[in-house]
Symmetry: C2
């Protein structure tokens, strides 16, 4: 039974307020005068040294002595100036000479939870970031459909929308590490990915309207930027969960993500999720687009190449500690939360194991917060730090499709070292005696 | 049983690729030459008029004729220039003369899904936006705890963290509407709220360490900005789900949200969630802080005032259509998705009803995507538009605490019209014959 909600404060599980306001004010005066010299040790934390200016900071903070900024300053808000170091980054290795065919990697060591804010979302483009006037945007859907169509953005958005949280990952994530460690950095080693809440329309919803012909087995998606990115998608994926998305974390897609719309194939390679989308065509046989022959293939030791990868395989990483977040300030006996991410393009993460000896022995980590399909899953493990002991931290994830991450040796024996794609072998941070963290590779 | 995941592409449910690459290339050439003149009508959409330049746009878009921006341009990304109109807004009515004690309202008509991007998150401050150096930040926790403490930011973040998605709402949301409609705008009428994924530590986790004394029944939270915002929180809420948060949608809190940390009391009034937090004190009796006597109280018709409101009651709104998103371009018979938001500070949304006649008759709307406690829930209803008919669109939400939104008359009979707080009566958009949308009030 429902009640009409009429501000009856008695419904709240709170104590009644006493009437003696005057004595309470005196109490408040007294309490405000409490000294911070009573500060004591905390079992999780070290004893806190009370600095000479702690009292000044907690009672009369310098930033509390004057007006703050007016709301008229940034109607579209920006981060604190003190966070200027938290940005995407790039190296010459990851960029063409003109920085157009390039990748900007996300600071995943600094990300909290499972959402990457749009300003920090990784970006890969083959011809730079196009800027599209949404009024001039057109999307053509044709080929083996009964009613081919050209849609304006407004018309596209008239279809019933869905919102889903999914990671997006470049298949080259970690790909520099096939032969040896290249980057002593989490951001550069594993930051070719991000995770967002996407809003758009299922392509199957549109196809219900247009009428897909039974001979249609493949879909070509084509971008309108100057690289004219084109990729072929099997129809099963199209009819499962493929989306055309225009919303990212609540607002319009950013230009770097394909504004006004991109394709999203949940869990599949980022480059398949064509940005600045202009055309979807359906056919009975696949295309062999430029990016399916010259790129995004992997030469195996057998001499044959994998031409079409699709889903990004089950994977994980320790985010804290990491080369960017060392344990140099920890003391013997300190409790510390080890955190990481796990993800699979084939389903939902079911478990994450954590090893302290490079993969010989594993313990169960805890999955934190929301656990969603084809989405980042955050995990953690509470650890009592032993100063002066070297650790080899290795995580290993499992998904509900039945897969588990391989060792480097297992993966290399099948894939060789010629590919830069789809590396999902377990990786290791060495925590040195000093607390510094280094990227190492454990081979048998 | 789990398998080692070794790039066996046969595990994917995809067709085998035919070997005849040459003929496929010819197919591709042919398909690229398909004319858009075959474009046909769509049942959801109007027949698309193929513009003279549609072919030029879909095949040779002007933005595809040159390089896009290099990745070096914005390492912290920004929205498309074409989205410049999607911003927070303010009016003189909502601001002091110097725009410091003011509110910037969020463009909730433009938000997708249930996350508000940080740049568009509503902001209310009593003394402007403070800018705090995180290295100088200190948080004092004292009063009726066995081990009072002063924490640095780094120490605070060493506690085990949690991530939760919750809305945050100013109790004055909709408060201008008590006597009559003031704003023919969704953003100004209901945009005093947003929703985010928050990361921080439960205060109960810290208290387990510090040792809460049994006499402690209330907590004072105090900000360090120049308004020195102070509010009292009953201990039940503190020990339930109260958090100190430093992360918002994956990155550090924005300065306008209290960087580096604020209090978060999921579902409760925004002003209780003190920003730029500097002090938590525990006591056996409540404080009567400035903001609990001069503000945030409501005079009832009985002559008595409600002094302490806590949870924001169950509420909802239609976001599309709205005054900002009219139906002037719809034609008779068009299918259109009506969308809206529902939320309750007391629990989880269980149902949303939608009325087309101002609340006489209701139909069940569909809850979309994730449905989480004390979180925005998005809902929708597919509607066949009838041109030339006036509609009175009214939504009504229910929560799992057993509450349902009251009518305006029911709410006013208890609360009168002197308050500006906690309005959660059902509200109505009139869709005029022209498709224009106006904010109206339905009284009996």
């Amino acid at each position: 039974m429902t009640n009409t909600n009429l501000h009856d404060t008695s419904r709240l599980n709170t104590q009644k307020l006493p009437a003696a306001q005057k004595s309470r004010r005196e109490f408040f005066k007294k309490s405000a005068a409490i000294s911070v010299s009573a500060v004591a040790a905390l079992s999780v934390l070290d004893p806190v040294k009370v600095l000479a200016d702690d009292k000044a900071i907690t009672h009369h903070a310098p930033w509390g002595q004057h007006w703050g900024d007016p709301i008229t300053k940034n109607l579209y808000g920006v981060p604190s100036l003190y966070e200027h170091n938290v940005t995407r980054r790039y190296t010459k290795l990851l960029a063409s000479g003109n920085y157009r065919a390039a990748i900007a990697v996300s600071p995943i060591q600094d990300i909290e939870g499972i959402i990457t804010p749009n300003g920090l979302f990784f970006s890969r483009s083959h011809g730079g970031t196009a800027h599209i006037d949404p009024n001039k945007f057109r999307l053509m859907i044709h080929g083996l459909v009964k009613k081919p169509i050209v849609l304006t953005l407004k018309q596209l958005k008239r279809y019933p929308s869905v919102t889903r949280t999914h990671f997006l990952e470049c298949p080259a994530n970690g790909g520099q590490e096939w032969r040896a460690t290249q980057y002593n950095s989490l951001q550069f080693a594993k930051g070719f990915m991000s995770c967002a809440q996407w809003t758009g329309v299922y392509i199957k919803t549109i196809l219900k309207d247009l009428g897909l012909k039974p001979q249609a087995k493949w879909m070509l998606s084509e971008g309108s930027d100057n690289s004219e990115m084109g990729r072929t998608v099997p129809i099963d994926k199209v009819l499962d969960d493929a989306m055309i998305v225009w919303g990212q974390n609540g607002e319009a897609l950013r230009p770097e993500q394909g504004y006004p719309v991109r394709l999203l194939l949940p869990g599949w390679e980022g480059n398949l999720c064509v940005k600045w989308l202009k055309r979807l065509e359906f056919a009975s046989e696949p295309w062999y687009a430029k990016e399916e022959t010259s790129k995004y293939t992997a030469l195996k030791p057998t001499g044959k190449a994998v031409q079409h990868f699709y889903a990004n395989e089950v994977n994980s990483t320790v985010t804290s500690p990491s080369p960017e977040i060392p344990w140099t300030d920890l003391k013997d006996g300190d409790l510390i939360e080890i955190e990481g991410l796990a993800w699979s393009g084939m389903g939902t993460i079911t478990a994450v194991d954590l090893s302290f000896d490079g993969g010989k022995n594993f313990k169960k980590a805890k999955l934190k917060g929301l656990v969603l399909p084809k989405c980042w899953t955050r995990w953690s493990y509470m650890h009592k730090y032993k100063k002066g002991k070297t650790l080899l931290l290795t995580s290993r994830a499992m998904d509900d499709a039945g897969y588990i991450q391989p060792t480097i040796d297992q993966e290399t024996s099948v894939m060789g070292v010629e590919s830069v794609y789809h590396r999902n072998a377990i990786e290791t941070w060495e925590v040195a005696k000093t607390g510094e963290v280094n990227h190492v590779q454990i081979r048998s």
